[in-house]
Each structure stands twice: as structure tokens, then as C-alpha cells.
């Protein structure tokens, strides 16, 4: 079935100014004083942050502090509802945009608990993300801005376990493999900003290390990463910059180094 070509046209790439993006350190994502709600439950309060091109930025905080809600607000999912503030990506407002449009613009979210499709094979799981790319090829335009999509060889080099299991159903994978799959799937979207929600959750230490390596590799390829972690230490290991969130607001902003040195913040907000 032809996907029809309108989606790509709706996402008006023309208006996005691509020339700015070459500058490293330019902030590509700006979250500006947002208030977000789940139903009537007020989760984010006046939260602001920004992510710079090419960096790994970590969002830390205890359970329930609002980290996941922040990522979901950026990805513009149906819930939560952003009732105040703005989110901009490459200077373009994406608040209240349709989820898929945000994704097509180059923001990819690997949600908590991975959310792989259990009845689809590994290959199909990855391929779902390529449906969009295919469509853009039909249009003769590259959906991603400057870079080529990561070729399959490179992808499987990063995640060799997946290649062995291409025809296996997603639901039969182990937790670590599912996490790999979720990240691989997100990479197939060829995002400019990859958002990872608790990628280490429930993983054994050695698997955590391979996921870490994958994240490093992704950054080397030029993808910006926004990482949400409860495991502050693991996050600080890979992150360039950190935010600490508490009760829906940012309470600390600085480099990983600065956070390491800030005993009080760690004690108070991270329980470390």
C-alpha cells in the first residue's frame, strides 16, 4: 500500500534553517519553561533545558521527578499535555506537533521498557522505523538533514547480537537484546537527537557496558543524545553535561565533572 506522500510535505523542512547546524555546540533543542500535566496531575513545573549539538546530555533525578515526562513532552506524545512553555528544535517550535511529525523532524525516543513489538521479528521491528525513510526516498528528498543513515553493516557492528537474531520474534529476546533492538530501531530513523529513557534499566553490568559503548559510538557518528537515567553514576560516565530534575523542575545544570564535585546536590536529589 502506498503510504501516500503527504506526510513529508506536511513537515515543511524548507522552513527549517539548515545552515546553522554545522556549528558544534549550537543548541539544537530548547525546552523553555514548560508546564506539563498527566490528566490533572501537574508533573513538570516551569522546566527549562537545552541540548547542544553533538553532546551527550543526561537528565538525572529520582523516580517520579519528571524525567520521563520531559522526554515525552519533547516527543509530543498524546500524554502528557504541555499547557505552558515552548519546545524548539533547531529553532523551530515543535510543541503540540503530532508525535510522528516530531519524529520525522529528527527526534527519536527510545522509551522506557523499550516498547519493542513482541510479535514482529527483529528485522521487522527495525524495518518499521525505515518505512518513513523509504517514503522520503520516494520523494527524492532525504528526510534526515545532512548525514546518511547508518548502514546496516555499521548497525550490526554496533549490535552484533541482533544480526544473529534477525528472524526471531522481538518478544523472545532477553532484556539486554531488547534494549539493543530498541536503540537500533531508533537509529534507523536516522535522528539528529536520540532520546534514551533509562537505557540501563534492569540490565546486567556487562550488558550496561555494551550499551554504553553503543551510545558512545552513536555520538561519534554525530548524533546528539539526551539520556534519562536514574543511575546517576552510569550516566555521568558517558554524559558531557547533566541536568538534575526534582519535582518537575531543573535544580542543577552543569558538566558531569561539576556534578561529581557537587556533593550537596548529589546527596539531596540523587540520594547518592
Amino acid at each position: 500500500m502506498s503510504q501516500s506522500d503527504e506526510t513529508a510535505t506536511e513537515v515543511d523542512r524548507e522552513t527549517t534553517d539548515t545552515s546553522d547546524r554545522s556549528t558544534v555546540g549550537q543548541s539544537i533543542l530548547e525546552v523553555d519553561a514548560i508546564d506539563a500535566y498527566y490528566g490533572e496531575s501537574h508533573i513538570l513545573r516551569d522546566l527549562s533545558l537545552h541540548v547542544e549539538e553533538g553532546e551527550i546530555c543526561a537528565l538525572l533525578g529520582r523516580n517520579g521527578a519528571g524525567k520521563t515526562t520531559t522526554l515525552r513532552s519533547i516527543a509530543s506524545t498524546a500524554e502528557p499535555e504541555v499547557r505552558a512553555g515552548q519546545i524548539r528544535f533547531y529553532g523551530h517550535e515543535i510543541t503540540h506537533m503530532a508525535t510522528e511529525d516530531v519524529a520525522v523532524r529528527g527526534i527519536s525516543l527510545v522509551p522506557e521498557e523499550r516498547r519493542i513489538f513482541p510479535d514482529l521479528t527483529v528485522e521487522e521491528n527495525i524495518h518499521v522505523a525505515e518505512v518513513v525513510r523509504n517514503r522520503s526516498n520516494v520523494l527524492g528528498r532525504n528526510i534526515s538533514f545532512d548525514r546518511e543513515q547508518m548502514p546496516d553493516e555499521d548497525l550490526y557492528e554496533v549490535f552484533p547480537r541482533l544480526e544473529e537474531r534477525l528472524s526471531q520474534k522481538g518478544g523472545t529476546l532477553s532484556g539486554g537484546e531488547q534494549q539493543m533492538l530498541a536503540i537500533a530501531r531508533a537509529l534507523k530513523q536516522n535522528p539528529d537527537l536520540l532520546m534514551l529513557d533509562e537505557p540501563y534499566e534492569g540490565l546486567a553490568p556487562q550488558i550496561i557496558q555494551s550499551v554504553e559503548a553503543a551510545i558512545e559510538r552513536i555520538r561519534e557518528d554525530g548524533t546528539t543524545v539526551l539520556l534519562v537515567e536514574q543511575n546517576a553514576v552510569a550516566a555521568m560516565n558517558v554524559a558531557d553535561r547533566c541536568y538534575v530534575v526534582d519535582q518537575g523542575s531543573v535544580v542543577f545544570e552543569g558538566t558531569a565533572e561539576e556534578l561529581r564535585n557537587d556533593e550537596e546536590t548529589r546527596q539531596r536529589y540523587l540520594g547518592v
Binding site: E40, S41, H42, R45, A78, V272
Partner: protein
Amino acid sequence: MASTDATESEERTTDASDTDRSEATAPPEEYDGPLLQTDGLVKRFGGLTATDDVNLDIEQGERVSLIGPNGAGKSTIINLITRRLDPTEGDIRFKGQSILGLNPHEVVQRGMSKSFQQASIFPTLTVRQNARVAALAAEHGSFRFNFFRHRDRFSEVEGVARETLEAVGLWDQRESPAEDLPYGDKRRLEIGIALAADPDMLLMDEPTAGMSPEETHATVDLIEEVKEERGLTFLLVEHDMEIVFRVSDRIVVLNRGSVIAEGPPEEIRENPDVQDAYLGGVEL
């Protein structure tokens, strides 16, 4: 089209033909042992072990908090205790008697009440009716009352409802529909509903999630108050350490489905294993 909540639907399918066994095997009147005990509790989902050999002992009148990083198995334990899930192995005893095989509502009737993470109330019923439904269930059990008697004739029930609403500070709003309350009040009502069921033990799942600092404050006060006045046994799942340390007699820390530490707040604060759990075993 809300397929997002499909994950939550993994409930124990209540067998429709289950009969009301609460009356047949009611627990003994006098019981002095631990109120709630879990004995080698294991729950596996496919290949994943969500809880692994969890042994809990909660004494009567004790306030216990269950903490741990995401995915540690806290909600699985709550679901096991409230009988929404069947354990793969192990036993759960409430007031000394196994509750395996009981339906969720029967567990509640035995005195274990639960307050939900989201405001789980009856939206179009009035505040007072919300409390009454719970009080009715507690007072008369299931099916002990006559469907032909007017509900207002149950004066004991009315008393409990009033007492509860006064306790949670919602008596003045008693005639307004619950859906019209502000969020914080809804959460208080939700706690009120749990209290009106007149429990011996109250499970609270993140009682302050999504509340403003003031509302959080008021809720903690409420918990303290109830704790003082009713001497209720609490099992609290909470992320906010401030609350945990303030209200707990004892803290149980879970990681990867197992209990890795347990003890009074001061001790937990200093426990290196706990730090590890939150830090992922990586050296600073």
C-alpha cells in the same frame, strides 16, 4: 486506540465462577503475629524474573516503605499482595492466613486497603457517596445488605463516611461531585476511600505523585495524622525520599526483584549496597 496502556492490562484474570470465600475462611479474631508476611515470593514473566525470593514481615502498626530503582519489582510486589497477580512461587499471609486463591476484593475485606497512584475515584458520585461506597463495603461486606433498603438507612455507614471525610478534610465539599474537586483533593479523596474501607493495613502507591509541593506537604501531614490516630499498618511505595524517611519505621530496598537491604531509615541511608543499587555498582 489507547494501546499504550496495554502493558497495564496484564492482570490476573478473575475467574468469574470464584465464589465468595471470605466468609467461610475468615481469619481468627485474635492474632498477634506479623500482619503481612511474604514467603519466598517469586514472580516470573516469561523469562523475566520480576521478584525473586522476597520475604517480607510487616508487624502490626508498623510503617514500612518499599523503595528501589525503577524496575526493581516494587509494583509487581504490590500487585502480588493485592492479588492482581498470582505468584509463580511462594506464599503471602495476611493476619497469619494465606491469601492465595482469594479475589482482590476479598483481600480488601480482610482489612488490606490500597490507595492508587492516580486519583482513582468515582467521578460523578458525590464526595460523600464516594466515601459511602467504601464504607458500605467495609461495614457489610459483599452482599450482606438488602438491595431494597434505602442507602441512607445505613447510619453506621454514614458515620464512617463522615468520620473519613472529616479526617481527610473534605467534609465541607461532601455534596459536590468528585470530578469537580481540584487534583490534590481528589488524591485526598482517593486516600479517604481507602481509609473508609476501614483497613488494618494500607498500601500506598506513590501517594504524592504529581502533587504540588503544598499538596505533597498536606498529604504527608495526612499520613502522619492517620498514623497517629488509627495506628494503621502502612506499606508505602514512594520515590520521594524525604517522605520515605519521614514516615517510615523501616525501609525495605529492592533491586532486580530481590531485597538487598532492610532496616530503619538511618541505617538505610548509610548502607553501601543501597548506594550501589542506585548507582549501578559503578565507582565514582
